[in-house]
Structure formats: C-alpha cells, structure tokens
C-alpha cells in the first residue's frame, strides 16, 4: 500500500480522490432524485458552476501566494451592475469589448486590494474584508435603489445563456460554460508552463527563498490580486448573462463559495500548491452538491449553507490529516 501510494505525488492522489468524490456524489443523487441524469440537470449544474469557476480560479491564485480575497463577491456585484447599466445606454457595444470591459473593471478593483496588501503591508484578510464592505457600499450608493432588468440588455446577451457551443451526445455544452472552463484551463496551462506564472508558487511556498532568488514578491502578490479581480469581472459578466435582473445584492456571499471551491479543490491554504484541474473539480463538486440538495426531498433547502460550511471543513481537515500521515509514511519509509 505504501509503495503504491508513494508512486504518485500527493497532488495526483488528491485529484483522483476528488474525481471519485464527484462520481460518488453524482451516483448518490442519481438514486435519490428522479430524472437526475437528464441533460437538463447537466445544464443546470454546469451553467451554475460556470459563474463560480472564474472566481475560484482567481481565488486559487491568490491563495497560492498565502493570501485570501474576500472582496470577489462584491467585485462581481459591482461589475455585473455597472456593465448592465452601461449596456442600457450603449447597446451596440461589441460582445468582445463587453467582456474586456468587465475584466478591466474587475482588475482595477483588484489592483486596489493588491497595492494595499503588497506595498501597504496590510494583511489580505483585513484589506479584502474592508473592500468587501466598501465596494458593496459604493454599489448601493451608485445604484440609487434601481434594478437592472433584461429589458435594458441587448438581445445577444439575453440569448447567451441558452446558446450551445457544442454537443456531447445528448448533453449540450453552453457557451458560458466554455468561456469559464477555457479561462480555467488557460490559467492552468500558464501556471504549469510559464516562468512568470511559476512565481506564484515560488512566493507562496517560501517568500524568503523567492526574494533571495531575485523575485519581486510584492509585485507577484499584487498581480495575483489583479488577476483575481479580473476573474471576478468575468464572473460578473457570466452572472449578468445568466440572471439578467441585477440588484445591489448581486454576488453577495459568492466569496465564500469561491473559497469553498478552492479548498475542496485541494489548493493548500498555506500557499505554494494547487492545480487548476483541482479547482475545476472543486467548483463542480460544490455546485453539484448545492444544486442537488435543493432538489432532494429528504433535507429542506435551508440545509444548503450549513452543509456547504461543514463540507469545506471536512475537505480541509481530511487534507491536513492526509498530508500529515503521508509525510509520516515517507519519513518512516526512508528510515
């Protein structure tokens, strides 16, 4: 057993465990909910996970550098609202420009976090707890109690959530899902192969060593927050497309869901490790459980939040215990 486990890296084992957990979850709910394995349910879960996935990708990069970004839910809300509002007066804006606008707006808000954390040396939990409140306050003031409705949005955006990119047999994969997964895989490829992206790991696993190796740690941390903001902007776009009707509470609490996806996806909260494949599966697992619970007759829908919290805790605890016993096994094997 030891020899078998030793042959794989802890990261690989984690991904396998996640895949098994995802499979077990789907199989379990398939026996509990009628018509669960239908294409409709696939669409419901994938389009819902697509909104969270970019948030989780940005969050993962921030967490890799030993920080946390609790402001992403507020950034999502601000972006979705302001862009929705802008489209009301500029309906002919090109779709590509709209997405770019969303990500740029998010990046600016993320940059505020990044500057304060990296150069102001204020702990990220403090900064982002503060901007979580600040950005939401700004939105409430800016909105003046108005609501964005689908009536004010251009037709292409209203139709976007129903647009299918390609089909896998009976399963239709929506364009929004392709967008989110594409962003995730691009981030994953960059983290695996690009030297500048490897710096996120370097700074997170050992900031002192990274500094000695000539890496400007402050710049890397700031960049992580800018990326997180831009990804929250992309989520804001997907949120706007999916729901159409935006109020000032848009995205409230999404920061917790993104943290959940990240830690369930096996990104170490101590920094320095994690993979985008894990984040993808983490986001999918969290959303599968979330969406399935609302349709499961055995528990009331009010259990969703409580179970989400305990799920995060269980994932972190299992991860800590597994990492510890694996380390002990390795030490024992060497002696």
């Amino acid at each position: 057993m030891t020899a078998l486990l030793g042959r794989f890296s802890p990261q690989t084992l984690r991904l396998v465990a996640l895949a098994l957990a995802l499979l077990a979850t789907v199989l379990f709910f398939a026996t509990q909910i009628e018509g669960y394995l239908a294409p409709r349910m696939f669409n419901r879960i994938t389009t819902s996970a697509a909104v969270v996935l970019p948030l989780a990708v940005g969050q993962a990069i921030v967490v890799m550098t030993r920080n946390i970004d609790l402001s992403v839910g507020s950034i999502l809300g601000v972006v979705a609202y302001i862009v929705g509002d802008t489209l009301g007066s500029l309906p002919d804006l090109h779709p590509v420009l709209v997405v770019a606008f969303c990500m740029a707006l998010g990046a600016v808000l993320g940059a505020v976090n990044g500057v304060l954390v990296a150069w102001g040396r204020v702990p990220s939990i403090i900064v982002t707890l503060g901007t979580l409140a600040l950005y939401r306050t700004f939105l409430v003031e800016w909105s003046d109690a108005r609501t964005i409705t689908t009536a004010g949005l251009p037709q292409w955006l209203v139709d976007l959530p129903q647009a299918t990119a390609f089909s896998l047999g009976a399963l239709e994969v929506r364009v929004t899902v392709v967008l989110a997964v594409g962003a995730c895989l691009m981030a994953g490829a960059a983290l695996a192969f690009l030297r500048p992206a490897r710096r996120f790991y370097a700074v997170g696993s050992n900031p002192d060593a990274a500094a000695i190796a000539g890496i400007n740690a402050a710049r890397v941390v700031a960049l992580a927050f800018v990326i997180s903001g831009a990804m929250a902007g992309l989520s804001g776009f997907l949120f706007l497309a999916k729901f159409g009707n935006i109020t000032v509470v848009a995205g409230m609490g999404m920061e917790l869901k993104s943290v959940a996806a990240v830690v369930v996806g096996g990104v170490s909260i101590m920094g320095g490790s994690g993979s985008m494949l894990g984040v993808l599966m983490g986001a999918l697992l969290v959303d599968t459980i979330d969406n399935s619970l609302t349709r499961w007759a055995v528990v009331s829908e009010f259990w969703r939040d409580a179970l989400l919290g305990f799920l995060i805790m269980a994932a972190v605890t299992l991860d800590t215990l597994a990492a510890r016993s694996l380390a002990r096994m390795r030490r024992g094997g060497g002696a």
Partner: protein, 316 residues
C-alpha cells in the same frame, strides 16, 4: 511599547474630537439616556469585541462570532416557540455557544488548521444552522421578562447588557493585564514557538480562548434577540467586520502580541461616537459600513506608512 503609547494617545485625541463634534451638533448628547442609547445600539458587538481582543492578541482570529450570535439567537427563538421556558432556553443557547467554541478549538488549536480557515468555514456552517432553525420566518413571542431585560433599565436606566459589558471589560482587563494566563496569551501571540519551549501549554490557552469566544458570542446573540424582540435567519449577519475593526483600530496587532484593553475601549468609544455623529448628519447605514471599512484598512495601513517614513528618514 513606545509605539503603543503614541497609538493610544492618538486614539484619545480622536475620541475627544468626535466627542466635541457630537456635542457641537447636539447639545443634549451627554445626557445619561442618550449615552445609554448610544451603547445599546451596538452593545452586542462591543461585548464580543472584548473577547476578540484576547483572541487576536493570541495571534488567532475568530471569524465565526457573528454566526454564533445568529445561531444562538435563532436557537432561542426556536426553543421558546417550541414551548420551552425562557431560562432553560437561555442555558441551552449558552451551551451551543460553548460547543461552537469547542469545534473551533478542536480543529484549530488541537489539529493545527489555521483559525482563519476553520472559523471561515464555521462562519458559513453556523449561519446555515441558524437558517435551518428559523427558515425564512421571523420568530418572536418571547417571554415578557426576556424582552424587558433586553430593552429596559435594570438598575435605574442602565440595562442588563451594559452592566454585562462593564463587568466583562473589568474581568477581561484584569485577566489580560494582571494574571499569568493573560501573560501567556500575549507571549503565545508574540512567538508561539518560544512559548512552547518555555513550557506553556499553547493548545490549552488557545482552547480556553475559543471556548470563551463562543460562549460570549452566544450571550451577545441572546442579548440581541432580547433587545429586538424577534430573530431571523440573518440576525447579526456581517457583525464580524465591525467587531474586528474595533479591535484593530484599538491598536491590537493582527499578528498578535501587541495591544491593550485600554486601546480597544477607546476605539469602541470612537466608533460609537462616529456612528452617532454620522446618524446626526443623516448619513445612512450603508455609508457607515463603508466608513468602517476604510477605518479598518487605515488602522493597519497608517502605522505601516509611518514606520516606512521613519525608516527612510533614518537612512537619509
């Protein structure tokens, strides 16, 4: 120590300024009833802030306090509406708080998972349990003596919650600054490794702090329920932001080891006066939250900028 003195001195100046502004805008500001109202509006938060001071001094954090408040309030509403007596329900709610603290302690102090992660997960979980208990309803119909205790004066015009705050301030102030346990809290916060090697039972001290935090949060949740006369699933939602701001603005270092009860008391007074002043100038609750957010970041950013500036001046 020097830095701390100047920080508390600065707080005193700011406090006197906010006081003067309030007096200028509202001459009746200093009346006893107005001062009691001032404290009553945030009483649950300032009670929890006292315990949070010890937790942060210990280089830990408890983000789940507001959810424990909500859970305790929800449990009280649930039990009373299920026909339980007020006294028994209060006891059960305090036990729930103790249990919540025990969960946080077991996972962070014993298992060694960072308290930031543990209490963030528990923030979601405990809030979820509160929602399970009250669903999307609003539960009221508390016994009259409970709402009386929450809303009316107990000794003259002074309500129970204010007496509890004063008592807790005294007890925790003495515990922190005058006992061996308090010194252990600070030593662990300064350097947990050194503390361990000097024979301090680090896990035990941290466990005690999380148990205290859970129980006091549950007590604060009960006071909140009694004051408002009803509970909902989102009672006390987001209070952790205000509570942590009070502690950090009081000069307590987020990295542990540095800070005092006096500083936190001063920062509580400043925030109460600011909120009152902003209400007088008819600034709404949302902007007030924004201002608190700015204060939170500024209270940590400012000392950093000052020390940077000093270091640069020393070099040149």
């Amino acid at each position: 120590m020097n830095r701390l003195k100047t920080w508390e001195g600065g707080l005193l100046v700011v406090f006197l300024m906010t006081l003067a502004l309030n007096l200028a805008f509202a001459p009746e500001f200093l009346t006893v009833q107005n001062q009691i109202n001032l404290f009553q509006l945030s009483i649950e938060k300032i009670i929890v802030a006292l315990v949070m001071t010890l937790v942060i001094l210990n280089a830990e954090i408890d983000l789940s306090v507001a959810s424990v408040m909500g859970l305790s309030a929800a449990a009280f509403g649930f039990l009373v509406n299920a026909g339980w007596g007020g006294g028994t329900a209060i006891l059960v709610c305090l036990m729930i708080g103790l249990a919540a603290g025990a969960v946080n302690a077991a996972l962070s102090a014993r298992l060694g998972i960072p308290s930031l992660v543990v209490t963030l997960a528990m923030l979601i979980a405990f809030r979820g349990l509160a929602r399970v208990l009250v669903r999307d309803e609003s539960l009221g119909d508390f016994p009259a003596w409970v709402t009386d205790l929450g809303q009316k004066g107990l000794i003259g015009p002074v309500p129970l919650s204010l007496i509890l705050f004063a008592a807790l301030l005294a007890v925790l102030g003495v515990l922190l600054h005058r006992t061996g346990f308090g010194r252990q809290v600070v030593v662990i916060g300064t350097n947990a490794e050194v503390a361990r090697f000097s024979g301090i039972n680090v896990a035990r001290v941290k466990t005690v702090l999380f148990l205290m935090s859970g129980t006091v949060s549950a007590l604060a949740g009960l006071l909140y329920a009694a004051r408002l006369g009803s509970v909902r699933g989102d009672s006390a939602l987001g209070f952790e932001l205000d509570i942590i701001t009070m502690v950090l603005l009081g000069g307590v270092s987020i990295f542990g080891g540095k800070g005092s009860m006096t500083g936190v008391l001063l920062s509580i007074l400043i925030i109460l006066n600011l909120r009152n002043g902003m209400a007088l100038m008819s600034i709404t609750g949302h902007i007030q939250t924004g201002v608190i957010g700015v204060l939170l970041i500024g209270s940590v950013l400012l000392p950093n900028l000052v020390s940077d500036w000093r270091a640069r001046r020393a070099r040149s």
